[in-house]
Symmetry: C2
Subunit: 453 residues, 2 copies
Amino acid sequence: MSVDLTTLSAAVAAEGIRSGQLTSEALTAACLKRIEDTDGQIKAWAWLDPEYAMAQAREADQIRRAGRGLGALHGVPVGLKDIIDTRVGPTQRGSELYTGREAKRDARLVERLVEAGAVIMGKTTTTELAYLAPSETTNPHNPAHTPGGSSSGSAAAVAARHVPLAVGSQTGGSVIRPASFCGTFGFKPTRGLISRSGVLSTVPSLDQMGVFANTLEDMGLLSDVLSGYDQNDAGSLPRPTPAMLQGAQSDVPVEPNIAWFDLPYHDRLQRDAHDGIGAVFEALGAQIERFDAAPQLAGLTDVHKTIYDYELAQAMSDKVTTKAHQISAEMRSAMTRGNEISTAQYEDALAVQTSAGAFFAEHFNDFDAILSPSATGEAPLISEGTTGDASFCLIWTLAGLPCVSIPALVGDTGLPIGIQLVGAAEEDDRLLRTAAWVQKALVNAGAELELEA
Amino acid sequence: MSVDLTTLSAAVAAEGIRSGQLTSEALTAACLKRIEDTDGQIKAWAWLDPEYAMAQAREADQIRRAGRGLGALHGVPVGLKDIIDTRVGPTQRGSELYTGREAKRDARLVERLVEAGAVIMGKTTTTELAYLAPSETTNPHNPAHTPGGSSSGSAAAVAARHVPLAVGSQTGGSVIRPASFCGTFGFKPTRGLISRSGVLSTVPSLDQMGVFANTLEDMGLLSDVLSGYDQNDAGSLPRPTPAMLQGAQSDVPVEPNIAWFDLPYHDRLQRDAHDGIGAVFEALGAQIERFDAAPQLAGLTDVHKTIYDYELAQAMSDKVTTKAHQISAEMRSAMTRGNEISTAQYEDALAVQTSAGAFFAEHFNDFDAILSPSATGEAPLISEGTTGDASFCLIWTLAGLPCVSIPALVGDTGLPIGIQLVGAAEEDDRLLRTAAWVQKALVNAGAELELEA
């Protein structure tokens, strides 16, 4: 076959497998070949067993040939961030603390993937415990640059066409930022839609699952599969989930209203990203309404930090006393900060988190989405020792709102830059619909908004 | 509104709620009124809290008004056999052993109903521990007769239009038999499709979940919602499930081939049921091929009994020593039998169970379904002290095959009699499609095949 199967979207691949035009075996083999050819440099995979992947692919094909039930992701390979437990293969969480760790049970979201017929391709790298200390993964666009974190391997694997889909998580900006740096789509559905059972818990009030793909439609498809009620996750929403694939495939009923908040941390935007956002403003024209930051918003990044550090210190307290040498300096200093936060400060922060939710809920009566940068600009150099600045994600994560990163811009050194759209809680379908409209509007406004210096 | 909302199928009700033609509040209130009016005699409910049901209905309506995600059973009331754990309300398993028992967690299938937006109406009666000792439920067609067991309340509640849908279970004939006696449709999907986590386990090698509804389509709709992989249930199938609703809605590609086995226990068929089956043969004509019972088949009811008694005795052993006075004579004698079965006998029976699966798998290469009686005839009188004879269900249950009961016949005293269709494992979609064809063929052949004496 002359088509490079790794270029197919998950939706197209699933349809091809369903109709018999394509086998999962061929698709999975093409993905494995692509990994073999390129992962020596990218290093997106923490664990991968080609035989295990191929066995699942052959079983998916066998089910199809037997005329049995097919799942929504039948035969489609999916990568899993290495904080998601699987019974097959290790789950090592990017930390020496967990080298060789084998989980006894699959995470709930893995059960959902099995039920959808997906091929579990393997585990993608994560920063240490999904926090800041980088994995060895490089940016597929330029190996001197970081892919971002903490979902480093998931973003890089999708960007490099190792797999059409990958699952990550976001506690600060760990889906949106690597999506932006790697030039993929990233999507963090509303807090509580995707169960975290069987996923490393570091900051229960903030941890959220997210997805990477190369089309909006694919993110809707994967998110529909992953989402659903799970009584084992105290944050799981006990009700139906939005129809996200349908949202991504829908036309907007009228041109959407998009808000922009001028926020104090916008001074961190690099020049190329700043100009890129300017071009987006031009392309979307009258659909964007600009607001001064409400005082409530400006303080929310600190509230996020308080909750983050406090709960992280709690989650890790037993580790730091006995195994401090296996914990990075970044993590230890976060825990030190966390231990200095009083219970009263922490409880105040949780109260603000709740009121932020109410503030945004009202806001979305008038707007379909908030536009925001995804990150400060292009991916930093690995030599800078950081996976990048998550500032532009924190307040939306705090409020548990759905966030999409669209790979719309290209920076000064040719690396991708994403733009972020934030939607109303539990209206993820509306957000993806709006994102599809924005994407088309940007394409129409000027092929890609490449920013020549 | 002049339509009696309790006459709506679940599919029509869900579509009405989705489109805004109907509210869950109105539907649930109508169901509660119907229960209030008729359950004094039928006694289908082991636990019901109208306020709890109405609160769920109002929430379902609120979600719809807010434009949030809707589930496949959004706002539709469902009854649950009282062996299915729910966090709200007691789960008393029809046994004095469990009077007042409150489960800490929902069964997995309850999570799926919540995710589908269903209204959990309450708990329907079961025979003692889903075995033989009757509940106080009466047959909605005639209170002097049994509704059948063990899913007595689920069958009676659907037949009486208390709810459009109910969940039951079958270890012998506990879905198909009460469906037949009460004149509803009953469906036991392939073993392993619906998780048993959080459901009373009596005979792990045989216990299977099933559903009751008043249309084939509704059974497909509910079964799709309930089915899916669950690693907590060792028998759960780790792959996609058949598209059962779609099966029930599909036309057959060609007229189906249906097999009939002459089995030794057919001499238990009552005259009216025998004549009814004769009329079915006439109506389906050349589509039925008749076989002498293979020797493998004839012995399978004993194999079923061996596994049943052995595992039941194991499951209940701790109870019988300390609390024998709270256990019925039927249950105690089954346990006595079970304790007399040797491990070797039991293991032989499990081996035959496995080979029966292989026998049927081959058989279904040539046939779409096996036709069988659902039960021996009309529902027995309650005064006979039995919930009826399960013989016609046992070998299909043993093999874990999907079984449907269609309320096709009426017996000498005016009570309903079902006919059973059995399908290939994991081809539940094909079975429901075949059942829809059979149902139409019977209707065309003579309105209903009412058998006047």
